[in-house]
């Protein structure tokens, strides 16, 4: 049985959900994939839990937020300083995205790859800012870098590329921001105005207290860059995306197009070598007309027309399950598991 040693950076919602899934799936890893997953380090911004022989995940889950009181908690150590020293096979990066710099995730990813450590990330910033750099570095160091959770979370919008190897993806239309989609869905269904729909989204926990990145389209733009680079083979970054938010949409605009069978949706589009995120009128019977906080990706393919993927685009366990998929994929490609 192959023992795969893991370092987790970021113990927020995604990181904690991942630890829970790794603990729950212990037997599955062993029986089905011939794997023992050992988490030997968990980094937070103010320190780390480090245990060379492996951290007892049950213990971590039991103590919940009190993990800093465990005897192997080391205060003030930084992942960036220790990645090269630890015995790690795969580094899992789940820190929050800094949309301008991609830090600290970007440095963690680069440091791991420079030390020949495979990387899995749910942090999209580094990929929409420095996609080419990360991919080149991974190739130079003969490493795998996987990031399924960065786009539409558990919806397999990136890994579908391998399942469509005999086809050709020509263009992409998608709804990649659940918050914007929720707001427009409420405005359409209830006729409420934008500020009220936003307030409702915040109360339900679908929108951040500062919702700018969501409603101005930048969150979707970042995901679109990753999607287009991965599926269409482009080399774009977020500056290449024409972005228009949804805050200027009024209930009257929605009402005016209803009789014509249109709805307004926050679409992310990659076609003709151009990227855009903007509200668009779509046919109410289009598969892109999804409501609530769901995500949808429509791939226009050369030999099979449109292929649609849809599902929850956010959430701790959703992202954690995508990370597990990436983990299994890497171990398979390395020949560790069947």
């Amino acid at each position: 049985m192959m023992n795969v040693k893991i370092c987790l950076i970021g113990k927020g919602i995604v990181g904690s959900s991942l630890l829970q899934l790794l603990n729950e799936k212990k037997q599955l890893f062993k029986q089905k994939f011939n794997l023992k997953i050992t988490v030997n380090s968990i980094f937070e911004s103010d320190g780390a839990l480090i245990k060379d022989k492996g951290i007892d995940l049950k213990e971590i889950l039991d103590v919940s937020d009190d993990f800093r009181n465990l005897p192997y908690w080391r205060r003030d150590v930084k992942a960036i300083d220790l990645i090269s020293e630890l015995d790690i096979d795969i580094c899992i990066e789940t820190t929050p995205t800094n949309p301008k710099t991609g830090e600290p995730g970007l440095s963690h990813i680069i440091e791991a790859l420079n030390n020949h450590i495979d990387v899995i990330s749910s942090n999209k910033g580094p990929f929409y800012l420095e996609y080419k750099k990360i991919k080149n570095l991974a190739e130079q160091n003969n490493c795998f870098v996987k990031y399924e959770a960065t786009v539409a979370s558990c919806v397999p919008s990136l890994s579908i590329k391998e399942d469509l190897i005999g086809n050709e993806i020509l263009s992409i239309k998608a709804i990649l921001n659940g918050t914007s989609n929720f707001i427009l869905s409420r405005m359409t269904a209830e006729g409420v105005d934008f500020p009220l729909a936003l307030k409702e989204a915040q109360e339900l926990g679908y929108a951040e207290s500062d919702p700018t990145l969501d409603i101005d389209g930048y969150d979707a733009a970042g995901k679109l860059v990753i999607l287009a680079n991965e599926l269409l083979g482009w080399s774009k970054n977020i500056k290449d995306v024409k972005v228009e938010g949804i805050s200027k949409i009024t209930p009257h605009a929605i009402e005016l197009v209803k009789p014509d069978g249109f709805v307004i949706k926050p679409l992310a589009i990659a076609e003709n070598n151009e990227l855009s995120v903007e509200p668009r009128l779509i046919d109410k019977n289009s598969p892109l007309n999804i409501s609530g906080n769901l995500n949808v990706v429509e791939l226009e393919t050369k030999y099979a027309g449109p292929i649609i993927l849809m599902g929850r685009g956010a959430g701790g366990f959703e992202a954690a399950s995508a990370i597990i998929n990436d983990l299994i994929d890497i171990t398979r490609k390395k020949g560790y598991s069947p």
């Binding site: 200027k248 949409i249 009024t250 009257h252 605009a253 009402e255 005016l256 197009v257 014509d260 249109f262 307004i264 003709n272 903007e278 509200p279 668009r280 009128l281 779509i282």
Partner: protein, 163 residues
Amino acid sequence: MINLEVKIPDTPGSLIELIRPISKYGGNIYGILHFHDRKLKNMIPVNISFELSEEIQEVSLQNIKKELKEKNIQIENISYGIEKKLITIILTGHVFDTDVMDTIKRLASKNINVLELQAKFTKLEEVSNVKLRIEFPEEMDKKELTNELRKICEEKKLFLITS
């Protein structure tokens, strides 16, 4: 698009006689106009617009003409219209204060014609929402159309939503 100008007798069933051969040879009918007010010697002028599949257009049109002659329907003129594409857009902002007629005329100068306009207002000083149904030439791609619309919208600070 083919525009056929004919004269048919003002008798029941003659319009069906006109449509039947067009339909038989695969014509997709876009519109029919009767001019009852121009009836002369019991014959009514009718204009019918239809589309035929490009590959068989010539053969189909010959067959249609032949059958219409056999039915004593007089063909006055045949013309080939310019293909047009349609799109619906929404403009949000001070659409009327920024001279909506100027917007329409500027689009028309690029062969982009506004066919329909519908508006919703709240208060006079607030933004209005205007739906435009637009016709643009077949040879113009959507990107070119959008660029023309964007130029005007940026200048007049209007928010544009296209399909």
